[in-house]
């Protein structure tokens, strides 16, 4: 994009920068709050005194959380799930988006397939049959139970097929003339040209795998096989105070400890928060231009 250096132009840019900065700070606020609470003394936190800066600074909650073997174990399972799951998801997304991006004339089954897949986004059988299918597939208590049932991400595939469609047709046709097959064209032309879109989808997929907790809780037979978010779920949920008994009451004091909660929430979000800045370098403009230039 070409920018003007006129006065209104500069004024706009200044106002724009100011606005975006304000927006960014607004979005930073809740995380800073969580962080401040995690470093505060627990009484200050439970009195609701902590806003943006720790009150009674200490590292106790981090020490406690990081010492727990469960936390580390769950973290590793999450990492395994994310890497395996993202690889499988992306492979299927790419191989599904490519044929579906073809015109109906070139691929007759296309419209049927598209609706076949889109319907899966809109209709579901519900919890019980979902569980029973996975159980009878023999996947219970295995990492594949967290990967295969959701391996086809139709939303991502549909997004990607839209990007694929936007690529110049000339490239594909030229490659066909040179005798390249679909497989080669997909990996040699489509994929390299769609890096920004793929980076976006990789991010979505990783975040999706990282954040899901319900399937881990339902499909794993022991908490030792839980990914991090399933493990953390009991820490984060609110408790029904009408059913507390004496034996829960002492633990209630513990689970209502906000510094501990906040530390776990922050630590659990940290790895995935760091992914995006790394993916940002794929958002470079003009990739298409470079390759179509005569």
């Amino acid at each position: 994009m070409v920018h003007s250096s006129t006065l209104p132009g500069r004024l706009f840019r200044a106002a724009n920068a100011f606005f975006l900065l304000a927006l960014a700070l607004l979005c930073l606020f809740p995380l800073v709050n969580v962080l401040a609470v995690s470093f505060s003394s627990s009484t200050a936190a439970s009195a609701g005194m902590v806003k943006l800066w720790p009150v009674g600074f200490n590292l106790a909650s981090y020490r406690f959380v990081l010492q727990k073997p469960e936390f580390m174990r769950a973290l590793f399972i999450s990492l395994e799930r994310v890497s395996l799951g993202t690889a499988v998801n992306m492979l299927l997304t790419v191989t599904l988006a490519y044929p579906l991006a073809k015109e109906s004339v070139k691929f007759r089954g296309r419209t049927f397939y598209v609706w076949f897949f889109v319907l899966t986004m809109l209709v579901s059988g519900g919890l019980i049959p979902w569980y029973m299918v996975i159980k009878s597939a023999g996947l219970l208590d295995s990492i594949w139970a967290l990967i295969l049932p959701g391996a086809v991400n139709v939303y991502n595939a549909v997004l990607l097929l839209n990007f694929f469609r936007g690529l110049p047709k000339e490239l594909e046709e030229a490659a066909f003339v040179d005798g390249a097959g679909h497989w080669t064209i997909l990996w040699r032309i489509f994929v390299p040209l769609s890096m920004p879109a793929l980076a976006t989808l990789i991010l979505f997929t990783m975040v999706g795998h990282w954040n899901s907790w319900f399937d881990g809780m339902i499909l794993m037979n022991t908490p030792e096989h839980y990914p991090l978010q399933s493990y953390l779920q009991t820490v984060v949920i609110s408790h029904d105070l009408s059913l507390v008994t004496m034996s829960d009451a002492s633990s209630l004091a513990e689970v209502s400890d906000r510094t501990m909660k906040s530390a776990q929430i922050f630590l659990a979000a940290l790895p995935i928060l760091c992914v995006y800045p790394f993916l940002q370098r794929f958002f470079i403009k003009g990739v298409v231009l470079g390759s179509v230039k005569e």
Binding site: F116, L119, G126, W130, V287
Partner: protein, 299 residues
């Protein structure tokens, strides 16, 4: 002729095959569960032996005293969320596109995506604080302009607005990413040509950037229609109270409360089936409208 065609197209079928099998198994496999919508299901009796009850589950739902208010709230809240959830990320993506300093741009991009990672339980607590009519920062700020304190979370007039605004706050940064990706796909040569023609930046945005993003916008807008009966359970559940039932009770919170007394799988399935019906109807009609009127295939 057909043989030749098949030969040319079979690699494409082959590419679809793995996804097709998985979807058939894990998405279409559980579809048999929809029969629960027409049964009086008990976990003890199971699928086979639970008695059929026709449309009783639907009747029950629609005979609940507040059902139409709840449906109305759901559609109102989700429609506003859909619209705001499209406009805000697109606008922010366009504004970010105007930023020339890359470091600044990356920082802003990263920071606005952070709230996505916090759960509504956490954000709910934070919102109660900052929206408090006595000590909340928002009301203190408004007080500077002479605005009387507003009880945002306790007033039926404000509650839906708070839901929409806080949902946008949480999600817009994350949704912006896909539009930013779409922006990178626009051919820079188009801008160069426009500048030579003397087009202002506003004109460039209007005639190059926006049209370049249109396919993605249309696609996401169409898909979001599928959520018209999902107003965001986690958010509402963590923020609502008896004070704002009138404006904040939605289908999912109602079904949740109905299910506390017993595992209401049949009712949940019936409601899910209804939601699916509405989604399919909305999405397929927009798909065919776009195809008929503009000869455009959304997906």
């Amino acid at each position: 002729m057909t043989g030749k065609r098949l030969k040319r197209e079979y690699p494409l079928h082959l590419l679809v095959l793995p996804s097709f099998v998985l979807a058939l198994l894990f998405s279409y496999g559980p579809i048999f569960g929809l029969v629960l919508a027409f049964k009086d299901f008990s976990v003890v009796k199971g699928f086979g032996r639970s008695p059929w009850n026709g449309f009783d589950n639907f009747d029950y739902m629609f005979q609940l005293p507040d059902i139409w208010q709840v449906v109305g709230n759901t559609v109102y809240i989700s429609a506003m969320k859909i619209v705001a959830g499209l406009i805000v990320p697109i606008t922010v993506a366009l504004l970010l596109n105007e930023v020339t300093k890359n470091v600044f741009k990356r920082w802003v991009q990263t920071l606005i995506y952070l709230p996505h990672f916090l759960s509504w339980i956490i954000l709910g607590g934070i919102l109660i604080d900052i929206l408090s009519p006595t000590s909340g920062i928002v009301n203190q700020f408004l007080g500077v302009f002479g605005v009387k304190p507003i009880f945002f979370l306790g007033s039926n007039a404000w509650f839906p607005g708070v839901l929409v605004a806080s949902d946008v706050w949480k999600e817009f940064g994350f949704s912006t990413i896909v539009y930013l990706a779409a922006l990178t796909g626009i051919n820079p040569a188009l801008y160069e040509a426009a500048v030579i023609d003397g087009a202002t930046r506003w004109k460039q945005t209007l005639h190059i950037t926006l049209p370049g993003m249109t396919p993605v916008i249309v696609l996401l807008a169409t898909l979001s229609l599928g959520n018209v009966l999902n107003a965001g359970f986690d958010q509402v559940f963590n923020l609502y109270s008896a004070q704002v039932y009138d404006s904040g009770d939605i289908i999912d919170t109602l079904v949740y409360r109905l299910g506390i007394e017993q595992a209401q799988y049949s009712l949940a399935t019936a409601v899910g089936l209804m939601k699916s019906g509405v989604s399919v109807l909305l999405i397929s009609s927009s798909y065919y409208l776009a195809y008929r009127l503009a000869n455009y295939r959304i997906f």
